[in-house]
Structures are given as structure tokens and as C-alpha cells.
Symmetry: C2
Subunit: 447 residues, 2 copies
């Protein structure tokens, strides 16, 4: 049995800790923030979570599916808000397929409790201040609110280190100093800011709770996801500079005027808009790609530390959870041969992480722009129609990603083939009138 240190007790680190501890390993989970179960981390930078099939698969693996379902809110599709306040509902799948809005805080607490139940030692308010990959040592420093206090440092030398310490991973920084480590960080031109829709005066949801709301506005968008307390967390994805941009919204009046013109239906539902706009941070969005993810049989990156992605497919958490589930399956196969386990793990996950990174970037354009385009909606209808006609052969991309565990890479490839076929179908003259009566069988067969 191994002595394992996991850095970062976020969602992925907490799940991984359970999976490893229940195999009998000695697992220590180190987190720089305080215990979430005592002091909340929320800081206006959560981006709401949407749990889909890959996430649920992980919840089932550690037996917390039912617990999580209790605070999960099903969302059956996108609710599109146009500039005049008109609504249009676009279902995500068929037969009431849905994704779930989940509270990051409640989910993380559930996973921490589960880790503790399996004997994981949780160490809060300690950060990793240096890592020596060769010696496999970590220097851990206690974070003291009072800087004048002398620093308490200790050195750990576990058999195995996992970096589940997020997009700005300290473990990855240590690996980056080695030669032949490929790395990229790419920011998009949009930042994001969180805002809130409170419950109505009589304590109800202010808008439909069982949908993911989108205000698509071409180059930017606002979205809203429901919370169990009947608030909605809204996120404005918006350019940093240019016209319009965060840079241009500096005064109360500018903000109100902009929302009035652009999001007229939501403005009356946000009494604290300007206060929140000023007090909540504006945060950046980036994609991180790197390789290798592991060092010998000693160190491995997992979750955002290995592959931070933009949030537009709602797959960041789901992908990180899938990392853990796949790793767990690989451990089953190569019992205790950690050289092989880590090597198979990184090979198996890298192409999938790259695929979902690409899809997440593409989906931003879909959400902010295409969902408001009648031609795109027709295309979506044909996509769904083909799935009805050929349920085993034609699975829409969104369905593959959100409602199956088909590897992301395979889904991306199949999605490209579908796109080429749909391009052709959309070129058929008068397609808008006859899309339900076309002989798709021969059309697909001929391709």
C-alpha cells in the first residue's frame, strides 16, 4: 500500500482521495483554503456546475449519487431569451434527458465527507511551497492569517503525489521546469462576472427553474442556472475591451443603460445589479494544455491541473471526475504497477482532454450566437430527427458528450462527420419545408 499525497481538496481531489483510500492506501489531502464545511469558499467565482452523465458515473462509483441528487436541480434544455424578452425552449435530448445544476459547495462537502469516511486525512490551510520531483518531496507551509507569526513548514515524502490543484497548479509548475514538458495557456477575449437573481417577494423562483437560461447576444451572452435556495446564479461572459466590454461599463448609469438595452427582461429581476457588478470580481477564462501529465511512478496531474478548459460545454468538472473513474479502472487492471498505471492513464486521457477543450471553445460560439439563428435551430431539429430515425447510428454531439460516456475524442470525430452531412442537408433547396420528409436513409447510405 502506498503513501499518497493529493494536493487540492476541490471536487476532483476529494473524489480521487475516496477512490484511492478505499483501496487501502494511506491518503493525505492537502488544501490551502479553510475547511469548506466550516467556512465557505464562495467568492463570486464559482461558475455554476452542470452535472451530466460522466459526473453521475463518478458519483455512483463512490456511492453518493442519491445524496447528490437531493440537491441537484434538473435542467431539461436551454431557455433562450431574445432582446424583446421572448422565450424559446430548446430541449437537450429526448425522453426528458437533462443535466443538473449542482451547488459546488454542497457537492464538495459531500465528497470531503466521503473521503473522510474512507480514512483520508484532510489537512486544510496548508499550501505547497516547493516540490522536488527527483526526491519526491513536498514542502508544506501552514497559512497563518497573521503574517508576523513564524511560518510552520514541514517536508513530506510520499510514494506518490497527485496534483489536483487546479488551473494554476503548483505541481504542474514544478513539472514545467523539466525539459520536454509541453505547455500552453490560452486566454479567450472574454472575462466573466457573476450576478444574482433573488427569489420573488413571495419566495418563488423568478424564472423557470428547470432550464439553463441563455441570453445570446452574438459576441457575448448572459446565462442563469438555478440554485436550491431559489436564487439563480447569472454569469455574464463579456469582452474585456472593445465595444461593448467590461472596460466600458464603469458607472452605475452605464451598467443600467446597457442592461436595459440588452437584457431588458432580466433587469427588473436583479435589484442588486450595480452593487454586485462593482463588488464581484471580473475573472479570466483560459484553456491549459500540457504533456506529460506524469513523472515516473511518482507524480500525476489530474483535473484542471492537467487540462483546464473554458466552461461552455459544462464539462470541466465532468471531465475531471472521468479522469478519476478511468484512473480507478486502470488501477484495477495493473494492480500496483504504478509506472504502467500512470503511463496508461495519461495516454488514455490526453486525447480526450484535448477534444473536450476544443468542443468547449466551439460551444461558446453556439451558445452566445448560433442558438438565436433560425437556420441553426432547423439544423438542430434535423439532428434530433436523424437520431429518432436511426437511434443507434446517429447520436447528436451534445447527447454523446452529456448523456453518454463515449470518449470525448470519439464524440468529437463523429461530430465532425455529422457536421459534414448536416452541411450538405442544409444546402438542399427548400430544406426548411421538407426536412421531415426527406429520404435520409439513402442520403446517409450514399455518403
Amino acid at each position: 500500500m502506498k503513501n499518497i499525497t493529493i494536493l487540492g481538496a476541490g471536487l476532483v481531489g476529494s473524489l480521487l482521495a475516496s477512490l484511492l483510500a478505499r483501496r487501502g492506501h494511506q491518503v493525505q489531502l492537502i488544501e490551502k483554503r479553510p475547511d469548506l464545511r466550516i467556512k465557505n469558499w464562495e467568492d463570486g467565482r464559482s461558475i455554476n456546475l452542470a452535472m451530466s452523465e460522466r459526473g453521475w458515473q463518478a458519483m455512483r462509483a463512490v456511492g453518493v449519487e442519491e445524496q447528490v441528487k437531493k440537491f441537484a436541480i434538473p435542467m431539461y434544455g436551454r431557455m433562450i431569451h431574445d432582446t424583446k424578452g421572448n422565450l424559446a425552449f430548446q430541449p437537450y435530448g429526448k425522453d426528458n434527458q437533462c443535466i443538473y445544476a449542482v451547488s459546488r459547495s454542497l457537492l464538495n462537502q459531500t465528497l470531503m465527507n466521503e473521503a473522510e469516511r474512507h480514512g483520508v486525512q484532510l489537512v486544510f490551510e496548508h499550501k505547497c511551497t516547493s516540490i522536488d520531483l527527483q526526491k519526491n518531496t513536498l514542502e508544506i507551509t501552514r497559512i497563518t492569517p497573521n503574517k508576523a507569526e513564524s511560518e510552520e513548514k514541514s517536508t513530506l515524502q510520499p510514494d506518490l503525489i497527485f496534483g489536483s490543484d487546479g488551473a494554476f497548479s503548483a505541481v504542474r509548475s514544478a513539472m514545467m521546469k523539466r525539459p520536454l514538458f509541453n505547455y500552453s495557456q490560452d486566454y479567450i477575449e472574454h472575462g466573466y462576472k457573476e450576478l444574482t437573481i433573488p427569489p420573488t417577494a413571495d419566495g418563488n423562483w423568478a424564472i423557470e427553474p428547470n432550464a439553463l437560461h441563455i441570453w445570446p447576444r452574438g459576441h457575448f451572452m448572459l446565462i442563469a442556472l438555478p440554485n436550491p435556495d431559489k436564487t439563480f446564479t447569472c454569469t455574464l461572459f463579456f469582452p474585456w475591451t472593445g465595444n461593448p466590454s467590461f472596460e466600458q461599463l464603469q458607472t452605475k448609469q452605464q451598467i443600467l443603460h446597457f442592461f436595459e438595452e440588452t437584457f431588458s427582461d432580466i433587469l427588473p429581476l436583479m435589484p442588486d445589479l450595480t452593487e454586485e457588478f462593482f463588488s464581484n470580481p471580473t475573472s479570466a477564462l483560459l484553456t491549459v494544455r500540457c504533456f506529460p501529465w506524469t513523472y515516473k511512478d511518482k507524480v500525476a496531474l489530474i483535473g484542471d491541473a492537467a487540462h483546464a478548459i473554458v466552461p461552455f460545454f459544462g464539462q470541466g468538472m465532468n471531465c475531471g471526475f472521468e479522469d478519476c473513474v478511468v484512473l480507478d479502472e486502470i488501477i484495477d487492471q495493473y494492480n500496483n504497477d504504478w509506472n504502467t498505471i500512470l503511463s496508461v492513464y495519461e495516454k488514455s486521457r490526453k486525447s480526450n482532454a484535448d477534444a473536450i477543450a476544443e468542443l468547449a471553445l466551439q460551444n461558446f460560439v453556439e451558445m452566445r450566437d448560433k442558438v438565436a439563428d433560425p437556420r441553426f435551430l432547423l439544423r438542430k431539429k434535423i439532428d434530433a430527427h436523424l437520431n429518432q430515425l436511426f437511434p443507434d447510428q446517429w447520436i447528436p454531439l451534445y447527447t454523446m458528450i452529456s448523456f453518454t460516456t463515449i470518449p470525448y475524442f470519439d464524440a468529437l470525430e463523429v461530430g465532425k462527420q455529422h457536421d459534414a452531412i448536416l452541411d450538405k442537408i442544409m444546402e438542399i433547396e427548400g430544406i426548411e419545408d421538407k426536412w421531415q420528409t426527406i429520404d435520409y436513409q439513402s442520403l446517409l447510405g450514399a455518403d
Copy 2:
């Protein structure tokens, strides 16, 4: 007049220092290595330099062209060595166009002397240990051979900082910590090792000095460039792992056997092969891309610090020199408005740096593989033939890059158009027999 600190007294930093100092700025050039003019830096990791038109343009700008020409050795083309030792010469251009093998050390010394002549203060054996972009301060520490000595630190606060500190730039590391800084480092699967061909017993060049020698071997290659002391510096570009690879060449016998089989004609010319193979380092090759290159009117990256590229087009130094020349022209245009100067500089150079990075990667495949392919050689002949027929409209890519100052980006774009046309020409049946008699006029006109 500005107080300017340049970090890194390599080729680009030394040139930049001259250009800025002669405008009357106070320039301090800081270098962590000792003074090259007293203690040589050479460490078996130079990769020989090939100066082409962009480099000469820079030499003319500071008036050292004639000085440099004295130790520059013209190379009029590629000399291809096949496995049997047969030679084939491929000229680089027409009318004796050539690139020049240049000693890094002599060139750098020339540029340092020139900088000093313009009043630049050169500070050696000092490294930058921290940078505060907001305050525009640098902490500089003297490097002492005896670690026990107390460290001498000083803090500088110049008006302007230039990072010409290479592929692993400290200035860039400081910029990388800021949000919205895009960055990538991509290693290729090949490392490199330098080897030497000494002069013959009677003190002559062992092989043709006025050519760049290539031993193309498909997935790897050896090259050789002449030095003024009648030695050749050879560089083996070779995979790190796999078959064959550096990993597999561990013993004297393995090395000798491999060279005998692969580079039979050169083996007798390398009496110190195995000693050098063991004692010289194996180094990695990477491409670094980033953006932005500047911070306000305070900080700018230049040369490899902004855009490290692989060496296969011989343009790393030439591109860095061009950065300086272009910056100098922009300074002329926007006299002392450093906000505008730096902003125009980074916009103007970024797309060109990306283009030459791509071309450098492509040229590796050309050098190690294609130059040995008769179809490719025919294509090159047609390319040159088209240039003869239409000297103003058709300039081969290699010529645009090496013998003109056409922006790299434009050259890349034109090169792609040429490639599409050459693809079509090469498909013409019997092209090998009739390439000199085709009606290219109508062929190009019709395209």
C-alpha cells in the same frame, strides 16, 4: 531621454543596446555570464549561425557589416551527402546568392564592442532575481563563484526594461504571472548534439567549406557548417527515444557502429567522435510563442524571449535582429511616445514571428527528408525555373526568407500559393521530361 535596462547581452541584446544608446538613451546591459571577450561562453550548445539578408540589414544599421564580413564564410548552397558518400550540390539561389556561416562568439564580441562605443554600460555576472512589473523594478544579484560569499543585491528602477534574455526569459516569466498572458512552449521529439570535424593533417578544410552540409536520413539528420579555424561544427538532430535515438547510443561501439552505417563518409573525419559524443550535452529544441510582448510603456520582450524557434531555417538570430531594426524604425516614427512605440512594435512583429516559427518547423522535414527525394528536387528546379521566367512575380520561398526582407508572414502566405501551384504542376504527366518546355505563362495566368 530614457533610462533603459536590457537584460541579456546575447546577440539581440547587444545589438539593441547600440541602437538605443546612439539615440542618446542611458542604456545598461546586464548579463549573467562573464564578459565573453575575456572568457568564452562556448559550451557545445551554440548551433552554428547562418547570417542572411535580415541579419546583414541589422549589421548595416549599426555599421559593422564590413567587420563581420571579415570572419563570415559564404555558403552558396546545400551539399547533400547520401549514405554511400555521394555528394549533390543544391544552390540556395541564383547569381551566387549565399548565406554566411558566422561565429557566434566573434559576432557577439563585435556587437558588445559597438555597444560600448556608444556608451552602453555592460554589467556581467549579474542575474535578475526578481522583477516587479507594476513598480518597474528589477532586483539584480551578483553571481559569485563562491556560494558562501554574501550575495550582493541591488534594485534598479529604469524607465524601460527590455527582456532579450532568451528562450527561458526571466522577464517573460514575470509577465506570465499576469492574467491574459498567452503562452506556449512546444518541444520537438528531437534533441541535438554538437560534434567537430577538425582540419586535415595539412591544415586544410576536410570538406567543401562554402556549403552547408546535410546528411539527410529521413527522420533525422546531421549538418555541418564551416568555422574560420577550418574546423566544421556538426550538429546531429536526432530523436530522444525510439529506434534509432540518443537513448540507444550508449556505448562507444554503438556510436561507432551507427555512424559507420549511417554517416560512413564522415566517420574518418571525426577522430574524437565518441569522446565528444559523451562529453557534449544533448540539448532540447523548442518553440516558444507568447503574447503580449509588452507591458504598458515599461517592458518589452525581444528576440528569443518573445519567440524562440527551432533552428532549421537558420532564422532565429536573423529574426531577432529584424525585431531590433523594425523597433528602431518605429521609434523614428513615434518619437518618445513609448506607449505607441511598444504597441506598434508587438503588433508588427507577432504575426511575422509566428510565421517564421511555422516555417522553421516545416524546414526540418525538408532538410532531413525531402532534400534526398528526386521528386522534391525536380520541384525545386521548377520553382527556380519559374523565378528565372518571372523574376518579379515568382520568388521562391527560400529566397524571400533568406535574401530579402519581405515580412515573414507575407512570405509564408505567398509560399502557400506557390505550393498549391507547384502541386498542380507536379501532377502533370511526364513532368520530369517536359518541365523546361511547359507554357507556364498560361498556367499561372489561368490559376
